[in-house]
């Protein structure tokens, strides 16, 4: 386990800057989640750290050592690929043992057997150990692929959307399991996702990426309550934050755009909005409103009933303000 420092790393593919001058300090034992849409540079950042891609400029330190010229094997990282990448010619057992048998670790066979059995237990696949990797379901493959990383104790675990192909139940089970493993091993983990629930529930730090840049880096609470831009604010929170012209509401404003998360909207007083429809989700009710031609989504009491074209009055509570370019106005 070790800290990892990214210093102004940059990588281009042809004309595209996939990773643009990202600096990031991943403390020892942190669970860092990189959040961003497809193409934001999340996967490329992982591949740069692992050594599968070479840096154009900048430097990467793992455990205090500059790894710029080290091949992947020398960097002491474990990676879970989004596409599983299980070795199809090997059994599940041999897949899990593969990193332990590498010339670098060269683990004795009895220790390999013990570690593989333990990780299979954690991931609930002991009955599948003798199957070929190709004979598994998607969820099982993904668990084996996570297991192949967890069987080692590297400086840092790199995980590229490891839960994206699992069904909802397994995903929430493994989310809790990963968090538990992280707490138990006190390992450093860099985790890529575009799922904000994974980010909020597991992360000790979140880095938000936009078009190859790291636009904000902090604790989940900071990112949620103190976003530096509209872009960051829209990455977290469900339903998403409403970005509206400030002039829709009376009073003085700190910027031309007002950002209202559902909980920042108070009902009963203020601007008049028309109900478009109400979605009853059981534990909550999502209310879709129209406010002078702008769509607004908010939450309502699960037991209240609304009919379309009702008019309700809403006003902002502790809103976030942004300037015209989308940056936070303070």
């Amino acid at each position: 386990m070790a800290e990892v420092i990214l210093d102004a790393i940059t990588k281009s593919f042809g004309q595209t800057r996939a990773v643009d001058n990202i600096s990031m300090h991943i403390p020892d034992g942190a669970f860092v989640v990189m959040l961003g849409p497809t193409g934001a540079g999340k996967t490329t950042t992982l591949r740069l750290i692992s050594g599968l891609e070479t840096l154009d400029s900048g430097s990467i330190q793992i455990a205090g050592r500059n790894v710029k010229n080290d091949p992947p094997a020398q960097r002491d990282v474990a990676m879970v690929f989004q596409q599983y990448s299980l070795y199809p010619h090997l059994s599940v057992r041999d897949n899990l043992a593969f990193p332990l048998r590498s010339p670098i670790l060269n683990t004795p066979e009895d220790e390999i057997a013990r570690k593989v059995a333990k990780i299979a237990e954690v991931l609930q696949i002991p009955h599948k150990l003798d199957n070929k990797a190709t004979e598994l379901s998607g969820g099982e493959m993904q668990r084996v692929s996570i297991g192949r990383a967890l069987v080692r104790s590297p400086s840092i675990y790199l995980m590229d959307e490891p839960l994206s192909s699992l069904d909802a139940k397994l995903r929430s089970d493994l989310r809790i399991e990963l968090k538990r493993i992280h707490a138990e091993l006190r390992s450093t983990l860099l985790y890529v996702t575009h799922d904000q629930i994974e980010a909020m529930t597991m992360a000790s730090h979140i880095g938000v990426l936009e078009a190859g840049r790291l636009v904000q880096y902090g604790t989940p609470r900071e990112i949620y309550s103190n976003p530096t831009s509209v872009y960051v604010a829209s990455r977290l929170g469900l339903p998403r934050i409403n970005i509206l012209p400030s002039t829709l509401f009376a009073g003085s404003h700190k910027g031309p755009q007002i950002g209202l998360r559902p909980e920042n909207i108070q009902q009963g007083d203020g601007a008049e909005a028309r109900v478009i429809r109400a979605e009853h989700l059981g534990d909550q009710t999502r209310l879709h409103l129209e406010l002078q031609g702008h769509a607004v989504t908010t939450l309502a009491d699960p037991h209240a009933s609304y009919t379309p074209d009702d008019t309700i009055k809403i006003s902002p509570v502790n809103p976030l303000y942004f300037d015209a370019s989308g940056a936070r106005a303070l």
Partner: protein
């Protein structure tokens, strides 16, 4: 849009299709079977007309293939009784076995040159195909085209330059020379076929292995090679069949030491008349290694393409 339905074949259709396949298989096998049975005929039966399907089998052809014989006087034959079963067979023609023929040696030359060049073609071809498939090589497409272009004329078109070159280099009539020659012809096929197979293997496997603590070469050896086994097996069969059957260069470049079986087998005809059973026996033995090799690799050929462990 035209629509048509796919229905299960009726039993009559199945019967018809099965019959066609059986007829085709029989037609293809007739020449092979004919060669094999001719090997067990006596010279008289072999050339009788109409051809004999029922005959008395004899090992004469095989004895003649492996031995050299001389005709002897009656006194000599009476004074020296036959020493073994093979000797007894040739006594019918007032002959005695005086030594081994060159067939065994020629056959071994074929084995050395055929398998040697196949191994070398596959070894070099796999490495080259992997490099072309995975690395950014300047002018890769042009290089690949250049490699392919060596097959754009019949190899025999360059027979004279090669003959002269080999004579100057001292490679004429050597095992090494023939192995290099057949490798040069086969390598383009090997590179192109294997590149196709390796392209199909996702890079993610090697990347996973690199991160799991293996070097690039170890990843190639432990992860790529096992998955390329199907492709390597079929490519090896193609290479072996070419090198094994090659006739023209073998006639031209080999004689006393490195002559392979194909140019040798026809020369059997010249020894004491048209000895068709011996020729057929030679052809039968000559067929066996390729047949065994193909059967051994059949498992890989039929295994098909691995799928499923990388999500696309």
């Amino acid at each position: 849009m035209s629509s048509y339905t796919v229905t299960a074949p009726s039993s009559r259709q199945k019967w018809f299709a099965g019959t066609m396949v059986v007829i085709y298989a029989l037609v293809t096998m007739i020449p092979l079977v004919w060669i094999m049975i001719t090997g067990f005929k006596s010279p008289a039966d072999a050339i009788s007309y109409p051809p004999k399907v029922v005959f008395e089998p004899t090992l004469e052809g095989y004895v003649n293939l492996f031995t050299t014989r001389t005709r002897q006087t009656e006194e000599f034959l009476n004074a020296n009784p036959p020493q073994n079963w093979a000797d007894e067979i040739v006594r019918k023609y007032d002959m005695v076995i005086v030594g081994q023929s060159k067939f065994g040696e020629r056959f071994m030359n074929s084995v050395i040159i055929g398998f040697g060049s196949t191994f070398l073609s596959i070894f070099l071809g796999t490495l080259a195909a992997y490099a072309f498939s995975r690395f950014k090589i300047p002018l890769a497409d042009d290089l690949l085209f250049f490699i392919l272009s060596t097959r754009m004329m019949p190899p025999i078109a360059v027979a004279i330059p090669i003959f002269l070159m080999y004579r100057n280099l001292g490679l004429s009539d050597t095992h090494l020379g023939m192995i290099l020659l057949y490798t040069a012809v086969n390598i383009s096929l090997a590179v192109w076929l294997l590149k196709g197979f390796i392209d199909e293997i996702p890079r993610e496997y090697e990347e996973a292995a690199l991160i799991d603590g293996y070097t690039r070469f170890q990843a190639f050896y432990k992860v790529v090679l096992p998955q390329a086994a199907t492709g390597i097996a079929s490519t090896a069969i193609f290479c072996l069949i070419f090198a094994w059957n090659e006739y023209a260069f073998a006639v031209l470049l080999t004689s006393a030491t490195a002559q392979t079986a194909p140019p040798f087998i026809p020369t059997i005809i010249g020894v004491g008349g048209l000895d068709w059973p011996a020729v057929a026996a030679g052809a039968t033995i000559f067929l066996l290694p390729v047949m065994i090799f193909t059967i051994l690799l059949r498992k890989h050929l039929l295994r098909g393409i691995t799928f499923g462990a990388v999500r696309k």
